[in-house]
């Protein structure tokens, strides 16, 4: 019995070696060690239990962003500051459940609605309001029914549906993503089997947008590429194109016959106005372009954990939209059958009720306002405390939850090791995790790291 177990196990290793290469370090010697170490006093167990066929699997690399939170938790220093994860915090640095969400949730509890399966495309009421929120209720594309909207699991899930659609119908077509971009973008496209490449975006010299590089790279991409754009509040840099720059980007995309693919994770969080933050997407749509847009309610409604978002594909005809929608459903069915109901109902209730919607707008302004205030305070502190004359105005120009400080890895390490300020190694800080009270401390830390570490 033991020998047959061993030979079967080594067959599996052969199978592994024939396959994909991204499996980490599979150590063939491991299985022998296992047999020796595990089974000395338990020889009978070898006969009793088959060797796991997943023996050689190694730990996946830790998520860099979550790793920051872990390290922060482990730190006991009283002045520690967590500027890692992009989750909104109050001035007291506490997680915040929006009042409208509490109200909507309570209403749901009282209503006691059933929990039957949603249709594959999700809750109809949600799909209607989410598209209206993004494109505007009066947008002609809505009236003409040219938008295929499918409820997705937050931004990630919606992006994945779109990626699968691209892989299926545009095999070989590339997605262009900004350098840098949210870390999970490449993972999503990798796992969906969609090739990607980067377009220049961040200019470390100016700590601003490398607009010429961006345009050049979009122009150079093979015709018919998918250009992934952040609708507002770029993650991780906080650097958004100006309205004039957006027009030029749209020109180039049209010229090169590319498809604009928006990731809108922060509608409302950039300027405080839900409408204003959708203006880039709306401008592309107004030009008659076919657009893909992924939405998330994780940040702007604080519904991180409920996984609520949507994928929208604006098509040139209602008939095309219907076909596209059917294929998005066909992709979703073997992923999770139908999306979760709770978050969808909350959003539908808030956006669909004029009172709750106004309240949401107010809370949105408050949250975005707090971040703007924090930016101002940080900028003031940096400017007044730093005698070198360095221009810190990029802190004000950047928008949304995140800021790219321009610090390099060594400087970031100094931020953490010396000052107990936790951030991602690319120099990104989450302003949502910063309070007015801590701005001064942070300014000191940044100035020290910038000037005294290289």
């Amino acid at each position: 019995m033991a020998s047959s177990v061993l030979s079967s196990a080594s067959l599996s290793f052969h199978g592994i070696h024939k396959g994909k290469s991204n499996l980490g370090g599979i150590n063939k010697g491991k299985i022998d060690t296992f047999i020796k170490s595990k089974c000395f006093g338990r020889i009978s167990m070898v006969a009793a239990s088959n060797v796991s066929r997943f023996e050689g699997i190694t730990m996946a690399p830790p998520d860099p962003i979550l790793g920051v939170s872990e390290a922060f938790k482990a730190d006991n220093h009283e002045l520690k500051l967590n500027l890692g994860v992009g989750a909104y915090r109050t001035e007291e640095l506490q997680p915040y459940v929006l009042n409208v969400v509490k109200k909507a949730d309570k209403l749901l509890l009282e209503k006691g609605e059933n929990r039957e399966y949603l249709p594959i495309e999700g809750l109809a009421a949600f799909n209607k309001v989410t598209a209206e929120l993004l494109f505007g209720a009066d947008n002609p594309v809505m009236k003409q029914q040219r938008v295929a909207t499918v409820q997705g699991l937050s931004g990630t899930g919606s992006l994945r549906l779109a990626a699968a659609l691209i892989e299926r119908y545009f095999p070989g077509a590339k997605v262009l993503i900004s350098a840098p971009t949210w870390g999970n973008h490449k993972n999503i496209f990798n796992d969906a089997g969609v090739p990607w490449s980067e377009y220049r975006y961040y200019d470390p010299k100016t700590v601003g947008l490398d607009f010429e590089g961006m345009i050049a790279d979009i122009k150079a991409a093979p015709e018919g590429s998918f250009i992934l754009l952040h609708g507002c509040a770029h993650n991780p840099t906080g650097i958004d194109p100006t309205p004039e720059q957006w027009e030029i980007i749209a020109d180039v995309i049209q010229e090169k016959n590319h498809v604009p693919f928006f990731d809108i994770a922060y509608q409302g969080f950039a300027s405080g106005s839900l409408d204003a933050d959708a203006s880039s997407v709306r401008m592309f749509v107004a030009r008659g372009m076919e657009v893909i847009a992924a939405q998330s309610y994780s940040k702007n409604l604080g519904l991180y954990a409920e996984r609520i978002g949507a994928i929208n594909v604006v098509c040139s005809s209602p008939e095309a939209a219907a076909r596209v929608k059917s294929q998005l459903k066909r992709i979703a069915r073997p992923m999770y059958s139908n999306p979760p109901v709770h978050g969808a109902r909350i959003v539908a209730n808030i956006v669909g009720d004029s009172t709750l919607f106004s309240e949401w707008n107010a809370e949105m302004e408050m949250m975005a306002g707090r971040i703007k205030n924090v930016r101002h305070k940080l900028f003031d502190n940096l400017s007044s405390k730093d005698k070198s004359g360095k221009d810190w105005s990029f802190v004000l120009k950047q928008i949304g939850m995140f800021s790219f400080t321009g610090l390099n890895k060594a400087q970031c390490d100094n931020m953490t090791n010396k000052w107990h300020v936790y951030m991602t190694k690319d120099g990104r800080i989450s302003l949502a995790g910063l309070s007015l009270a801590k701005c001064e401390y942070l300014a000191d830390a940044i100035i020290d790291s910038y000037h005294n570490v290289s």
């Binding site: 066929r53 929990r115 699991l153 990630t156 979760p340």
Partner: protein, 460 residues
């Protein structure tokens, strides 16, 4: 105007079209075939008849034909309230769900639990758990295939196909006897190459309702040991088969006793009535805690690129229900009530058909177990039931017993009798393999009920 700025061209193609239709990036996207199960629900919803019955989707209904929100769910909900929104709680609640789910299926006292020898991750109900495993299987065994029982839930094929793992069937259902084709099953298991991946339904097989006996499970388990096959269990109906969650886990406990390192997809959609919340769990048994962590990290990564993590509301509910002894006790009672009602409906339906003097053998209605009855009705009869009687079920003749009530059971029996009764040809057809699931099936026009008996059977 719009037309001058409207420069949408297909890649490499210039438009020579008329201005009647605008060209689109998506011109080559064909309409997807409807999912066979949701197509049934759609057809049902579109039917204005007051007598209509939906026996398609496997969702439990109470005796009034209404969806049921379990008491245990309401209790759990009032306790968790809005605290569940805080994203910081999601990892700990997720881990709790995994532990509770594992205890439920593997047994609280199992070594696997005590030694924490499993990798587990919350999943989007049963579908999500199967999909995560399929992705995991593709990643680490890229050349493998998945053996699926014939027949099986229609979405299983879609799942493994979308991750590019080819599937193969093993014989399972015997259409003549409408029971398990055990000899053929064992044969196919034996003939599969060593170390193959098999998907098994541990109880309340979907769609047939035909389960191996305990003795048969033991034999299957032994053969699996000899062949070193990997058993993957899709547990969608724990509690729904016998009314007892422990009893329904018997097959898995047998495999555990025999030392198999299995994989398990669990769904709480049916047994907790949480369909729309998408709560489930995927677990993979390992040698030890270290390996469990490694596998868990890989599963987490797969999940992160598909949707992040499942929604917390459902996870919190299930976690609460399973970990709070009072609420769990309520749940266990409610599961028993649901399973009992279904069994009663099976008996009632069978008796009604026999009373009507049906010439056919309807024993399988009460022999089969769980949510579904594989009626043996052929496609023509299923079509007629929808067209003439407004009774909807999947084209393979699978009846979701959850949709049968004391109020509609007689109507249902009459209808089934009508479409099968005076028809010797139908009797013959019932004994052939008219049960095969074909996801391409569409209802075609098959004439009126007068021609059904002869013309259509021949046409099939």
């Amino acid at each position: 105007m719009i037309i001058s700025r409207f420069v949408i061209l297909r890649r490499g193609m210039s438009t020579a079209s008329t201005c009647a239709t605008r060209r689109s990036w998506w011109d080559h996207v064909t309409p997807a075939l409807k999912d066979p199960i949701s197509a049934v629900t759609e057809a049902f919803l579109a039917d204005p008849s007051p007598y209509k019955i939906n026996l398609g989707v496997g969702a439990y209904r109470d005796d009034e034909g209404k969806p049921l929100v379990l008491q245990c769910v309401r209790e759990a909900e009032s306790k968790i309230a809005a605290s569940s929104f805080l994203e910081s709680t999601s990892t700990s609640v997720g881990s709790k769900l995994v532990m509770e789910s594992a205890k439920l299926i593997y047994g609280e006292d199992s070594d696997v639990i005590k030694e924490r020898r499993f990798a587990g991750i919350p999943a989007l109900s049963g579908t999500g758990a199967c999909r995560l495993f399929a992705e995991f299987q593709k990643r680490f065994y890229p050349e493998s295939r998945m053996y699926l029982p014939d027949p099986t839930w229609s979405n299983h094929r879609n799942i493994w196909r979308d991750v590019h793992v080819p599937d193969q069937t093993f014989r399972y259902y015997h259409p003549d006897s409408k029971s398990l084709n055990f000899a053929a099953l064992m044969d196919d298991v034996k003939n599969a190459p060593d170390g193959s991946f098999f998907l098994l339904h541990p109880c309340a097989h979907n769609p047939t309702g035909v389960d191996p006996t305990e003795e048969q499970w033991r034999e299957i388990s032994s053969l699996f040991k000899v062949k070193n096959h990997f058993p993957f269990f899709d547990v969608a109906y724990q509690g729904f088969a016998s009314g007892d969650v422990e009893r329904d886990a018997k097959a898995i406990r047998i495999f555990l006793e025999d030392g198999h390192s299995i994989g398990c997809a669990q769904s709480f959609a049916k047994n907790m009535g949480l369909y729309g919340h998408r709560v489930g769990c995927l677990s993979v048994l390992c040698n030890d805690k270290i390996q469990a962590m490694a596998i868990q990290s890989q599963l987490q990564q797969i999940s992160n690129t598909m949707y992040g993590s499942p929604p917390i509301h459902g996870i919190s509910l299930v976690s609460k229900i399973l970990s709070d002894p009072d609420i769990k006790a309520i749940w266990l009672k409610e599961v028993k009530v649901m399973a009992t009602r279904i069994r009663r409906m099976r008996v009632t339906l069978r008796e009604a058909l026999e009373r009507l003097g049906s010439p056919l053998n309807w024993q399988h209605i009460t022999n089969q177990v769980g949510m579904f009855c594989f009626s043996g009705l052929n496609r023509a009869e299923v079509y007629l039931l929808a067209k003439e009687f407004h009774i909807y079920m999947t084209p393979d003749g699978r009846i979701s017993m959850g949709g049968v009530t004391t109020k509609n059971v007689d109507y249902l029996a009459n209808a089934i009798h009508e479409v099968t009764a005076c028809d010797q040809d139908a009797k013959i057809l019932h004994n052939t393999d008219a049960y095969k699931i074909n996801t391409d099936i569409r209802f075609t026009s098959l004439g009126t009920s007068k021609t059904r008996a002869r013309g259509m059977n021949l046409a099939l």
